[in-house]
Symmetry: C2
Subunit: 409 residues, 2 copies
C-alpha cells in the first residue's frame, strides 16, 4: 500500500459476523505480488440484494453483468477481484465474467443470476479468467476469512482499508449493518473505482432494500467527490441475510420499524463515504460543505457539488487561503436559481459574507487561522427555502498531481 493518508482513521473497526454470510479471500496473482486480491463471499439461500452501479456510459463487463441480473434481487455469491477492472475489454471481457459465474454455479449449485461480480484495477487489459476459475474451489474449501482481509483484498490505490458498522434492535433482537468499501470515490485513479458492500441480518425484500439503498446512496456515496471523475466500475451492493427471523416480518416500505434500519444504514454508508474522501489522493484536508435554505435537496446538492468539484476552491483550501470569491464563483457556476444578495458564507463558523456582500470589519486573518485545521466546514445559506444537504470532499494538493502524473510511468 501507498503511504497512509494523514486523514485515515486510527483503526479498522471490529466488524461482527453476519449469520448466513461466509467470507473467503486469497492472493491469486492477478496483478499484485503479495496482496490479497480475490474474495468470494457466499450467502445462504433466500439472501436478497439491491444493487446500484455507476452512471458511466462505458461501464465495465462486471457492471453490465450486475445490471442484467439485479432485477431478480437474489444473491448466493459475490466475487471481487482487484488489479484488473475488466473494463473496455469488449466481448472477451464479457466472456470472462460468464466463465467466472459458471464456475461458481458449478461449485455451489446456485443460479447464474444469483452471482454478483465486481472487478477493480487497470482498464483495457484482458483479465485472465483461468486464474479466477482455478481459485474458486480453493476459496470454497479454505477456512473463513475476516472482514478485514476481504476489505484488504478489494483495495487498489487505497492507503488504508475501510469498514463501518452499526446495530439496532427490533422485537428485542439485535440486528447489524456491516459495510466495507474501497476507492477514492469519483477520483478514479489509475487502478481505481468505488466499491461498497453492505450486509445486514435484518430480513428484507429486494424491493425494500432497493428503495432504501437508493435513498442512502444519495446521502453518502453520491454526496462525495474527490475530483469529479466517474469510474467505469462503481458498484454498491446491499445484501440481506434471512438467518434471523422476525415474529412479524417487515413487508412494506411504510413499516415504521424500518427507521431503525434506515438510521443504521445511513451511519454505515456515510462513514464509508467519508473514509473514501479521507483517502482522496493527496488529500490533506477533509471538507464538509453544508448548503442550507434552498427550495430542494437537489438544489442544495447541486450547489454543494459545484463547490466541491471546483479545482480553484480545492487548491485555495490546500493553501489555507480564505479565497471566498472562488466559492461565489462555484455557486454561480452550479446553474442553480439564486438571489445573489441573499447568500451568506461562513468558513469554520466564521461568517464572511452576509446577504450577498462582505460583512463589515471582515478580518481575513481570522479565517486564515481557522483554515489551518484539518477539518474545513463551509456553511452556505442561500436564503431561499427550507431544504438543505451536505457534501464531503477533500482538497487538491501537489501530491494529487504527483500521484496521478507519475503513478504508472
Amino acid at each position: 500500500m501507498l503511504k497512509k493518508s494523514p486523514l485515515a482513521p486510527k483503526l479498522f473497526p471490529n466488524l461482527p459476523k453476519i449469520k448466513g454470510i461466509r467470507l473467503a479471500c486469497i492472493h491469486s496473482g492477478i496483478r499484485y505480488k503479495d496482496k490479497l486480491d480475490l474474495s468470494l463471499i457466499y450467502m445462504t439461500k433466500e439472501t436478497n440484494v439491491a444493487c446500484v452501479v455507476t452512471r458511466s456510459q462505458t461501464p465495465s463487463a462486471p457492471v453490465i453483468w450486475c445490471k442484467k441480473i439485479r432485477n431478480i434481487g437474489k444473491a448466493r455469491a459475490l466475487i471481487v477481484n482487484s488489479g484488473n477492472a475488466n473494463a473496455h475489454t469488449g466481448d472477451k471481457g464479457m466472456e470472462t465474467v460468464k466463465k467466472t459465474v459458471n464456475a461458481i454455479v458449478n461449485h455451489i449449485g446456485c443460479k447464474k443470476n444469483e452471482v454478483y461480480v465486481c472487478s477493480t484495477g487497470v482498464i483495457g487489459e484482458f483479465l485472465n479468467e483461468n486464474i479466477i476459475t482455478a481459485a474458486i474451489p480453493k476459496l470454497i474449501k479454505q477456512k473463513a476469512s475476516s472482514w478485514k482481509e476481504v476489505a484488504e483484498s478489494i483495495c487498489t490505490t487505497d492507503t488504508f482499508i475501510k469498514g463501518a458498522k452499526s446495530k439496532f434492535k427490533i422485537e428485542d433482537k439485535q440486528f447489524n449493518v456491516v459495510g466495507i468499501a474501497k476507492g477514492s470515490g469519483m477520483i478514479f485513479p489509475n487502478m481505481g473505482t468505488m466499491l461498497g458492500f453492505i450486509f445486514t441480518d435484518l430480513p428484507l425484500s429486494a424491493n425494500i432494500l432497493n428503495i432504501l439503498l437508493k435513498e442512502a446512496v444519495e446521502k453518502s456515496f453520491n454526496s462525495i467527490t474527490v475530483d469529479g471523475d466517474t469510474s467505469t466500475s462503481d458498484t454498491c451492493l446491499l445484501f440481506s441475510s434471512p438467518s434471523i427471523s422476525l415474529n412479524r416480518s417487515i413487508k412494506t416500505i411504510g413499516d415504521k420499524r424500518l427507521n431503525f434500519f434506515r438510521e443504521a444504514l445511513d451511519k454505515v454508508l456515510q462513514s464509508l463515504a467519508q473514509q473514501i474522501v479521507c483517502d482522496g489522493e493527496g488529500a490533506s484536508k477533509f471538507i464538509t460543505i453544508n448548503v442550507s435554505s434552498v427550495k430542494s435537496q437537489k438544489i442544495a446538492r447541486n450547489i454543494g457539488l459545484a463547490i466541491a468539484n471546483s479545482s480553484l476552491v480545492k487548491t485555495a483550501i490546500a493553501g489555507e487561503d480564505p479565497n471566498w470569491g472562488r466559492i461565489i464563483m462555484a455557486i454561480g457556476k452550479s446553474g442553480s436559481p439564486l438571489i445573489q444578495n441573499k447568500i451568506s458564507i461562513a468558513i469554520n463558523k466564521v461568517k464572511i459574507t452576509d446577504k450577498g456582500i462582505l460583512i463589515p470589519n471582515y478580518k481575513e486573518e481570522v479565517v486564515a487561522k481557522k483554515m489551518k485545521n484539518k477539518n474545513i466546514v463551509i456553511d452556505i445559506d442561500m436564503g431561499m427555502g427550507k431544504e438543505k444537504s451536505t457534501i464531503w470532499t477533500c482538497d487538491l494538493t501537489q501530491e494529487y498531481i504527483k500521484i496521478n502524473a507519475d503513478y504508472r510511468s
Copy 2:
C-alpha cells in the same frame, strides 16, 4: 507579470488600426503598482455591437449592466479595468457601474445604453469609482494608445498579452477583424476572467453581429477549458464600425459575402481562445481533442469537454503517461449515447484502441515517446455519425496547484 508560459507565442501580432475606433489607456492605480490598468475605447456614431456574457448565476455588476443594454445593439464606448472584478459587491457595485457610465456620457455626449463596462480582478472588494471617473477626462484628452497597450491593460494573472487579426476583401475593399483577449478561460484565477474584444470595419447590423458572434464563440471560447471553472465576469464583445461603406450593404444573414467575414472572425476568435489555453495556469502541454463520427456537434463537444475537464486525463498528459483508460472513463462520464465497441482512440496519430478494444500488438512506449511533444492531439472516433468538433485544453501540473494554493496568501 508572472513567468511567461512555455506555450506563449513568440510575438504580439502587429494589429492594424480600425477606422472609427479610438484607443486610450492609463495606469490609474486601482490595484497594481506599475501596470496599465484602465482602458477607454470609444467608437464613432452608428457603431453596432453584439455581446455574449458568462452563464454564471453570480455575475459581476458590469456583466449585469452589459446584459441590460445589449439588446439595443449600439456602442459608443467600452471601459475596462483590471485589478478589481466589481463582483459580489451588491447594490454598491451596481452604483459604481452607473457612475462610471454617467461620467462617460457627460464627457462624450452619448446615451447610457451605448456604454459597455468590463471589470476583471479580485472578487468581493468594492471598486473605487472615484479613481475611474477621475481618469476618464485624462483618457479622452491623451494621445491614442496602441492595441498592445490596451491588451496589456486588461491583463491580470496572464503571463503574456493576447491579440489576433485577420483580413478579407469584399467589393475589392479590404476589411479587418482585430481582437484582443485576456484570461485563462474557465480557469478563473484569483484575479481572473475571460475577456475578448473584437473589432471589424465591415459595417454590419447588431442582429447579424449577434448571430455570427454566437456561432463563432461556440467554436472558440466555448470550446476551451482549463479547469472547468466559470468566471463571474466572462464577456465577449464584437464591434462593427461603419466607417468604410459598401456599395451594396449586407442586410441579411443569408448574404453569401458574410462567409469571408465568418472565416476571419473564426480565425481571430480561435487564435485568441488557443492563446488563452496556452496561458492556462501551470500549462506545459497544449492539448487538442478531436471528436468525430457522432450524430451532432453538441455530442462531440460534450465528449470533448468531458475529456478536457478530467483532472485524471490532464495529469496523465502532464506525466507523459499514455493512460488511455482515463480517456475511456471520461467518454463514459460525458453521459453521451455511445456504443462502446465502436470507439477508436489515437494519441498524436498513433492508434491505441480500435472498435472498443486495444489494438493487437499495441506498444505503449511508442505513444509515451510521442507524448514528450508539447502538442498533444487526441483523436476520438465514436463510429456513430458524421458530425465532429474540436476542444482545446492544457495539462494539469504541480505548477497549477502552486499558483492556486499559494498565490494570494
